[in-house]
Symmetry: C2
Subunit: 155 residues, 2 copies
């Protein structure tokens, strides 16, 4: 009896992920933000960071950090300024507007999590969270890991 695709964890993960991402994206879209933007704001809540450091914490490529900070800065949610101590760096800090927005975003996040987990009881949700955490890849930061082969013959 071959493994049925509908039972394969990779497929189930894919479906569940897609659903969660949609809900999350829709939720943050009201604020003209995407999930990565929220993650950046949340990471900055405890203090300014260089873009490179931000990228490491969020597992985002440097390029994508640049774009995310562009987006947030344009909306006045963060401030980007040269680090006087190391002029290669940009120090990104939350503005007051950014700090004020965070609670609302957190509310959105929690609401989405509830919706995602709605089919489960509270205990099941805890179990799921626990199990998923153990599946997570052991912190390989983006932009730091070696290259992955890309590009397949496209005929």
């Amino acid at each position: 009896m071959p493994l049925r695709l509908a039972d394969a964890p990779s497929w189930l993960l894919s479906r569940a992920h897609l659903r969660a991402q949609r809900l999350l994206s829709d939720g943050f879209a009201e604020h003209d933000l995407r999930p990565a933007h929220y993650r950046a704001l949340a990471a900055l809540a405890e203090g300014g960071l260089s873009q490179a450091e931000l990228g490491r914490r969020l597992m985002l490529d440097r390029k994508d950090v640049t774009l995310a900070v562009d987006h947030l800065a344009e909306r006045g949610l963060v401030d980007r300024s040269a680090d006087p101590a190391d002029r290669r760096r940009n120090v990104v800090t939350l503005t007051d507007a950014g700090r004020a927005l965070l609670p609302r975003l957190e509310h959105t996040l929690e609401s989405v999590q509830r919706e995602v987990l709605a089919p489960l009881t509270e205990e099941e949700a805890r179990t799921l969270t626990h199990l998923l955490r153990r599946l997570a890849p052991a912190d390989e930061a983006a932009g730091v890991t070696g290259p992955r082969p890309r590009g397949r013959s496209r005929s």
Copy 2:
């Protein structure tokens, strides 16, 4: 205490999904196929299907079905022919080569599932599978559901 992102199911799903997808893509890449191609072959194993029907079962957009069938047909794994009973349709069927390849792909799939679930015990894996299944969106087929708002203001 705000929900920490690292604990949010949506984030954990995202990480786990990414890991599983990478492993699966890498596994099928040896056969010059991607996960969707395997899914198509598996769906066809029990009989020919029209592309539209294939799309519904795989939750793939019609366009992506066309491309997938192109890919598979070029490699001689499926046969695409006009349906004599309804000339709008293409009936897609497995070729002998396609049928012969399936067991190898299934082996790859199972091997990847084992690797994805490696951090868990067998019972935990069963629990996870069970919980994930309940999170899955109630079969909304791709290309059939209504439009989702797209496109956000871009700077």
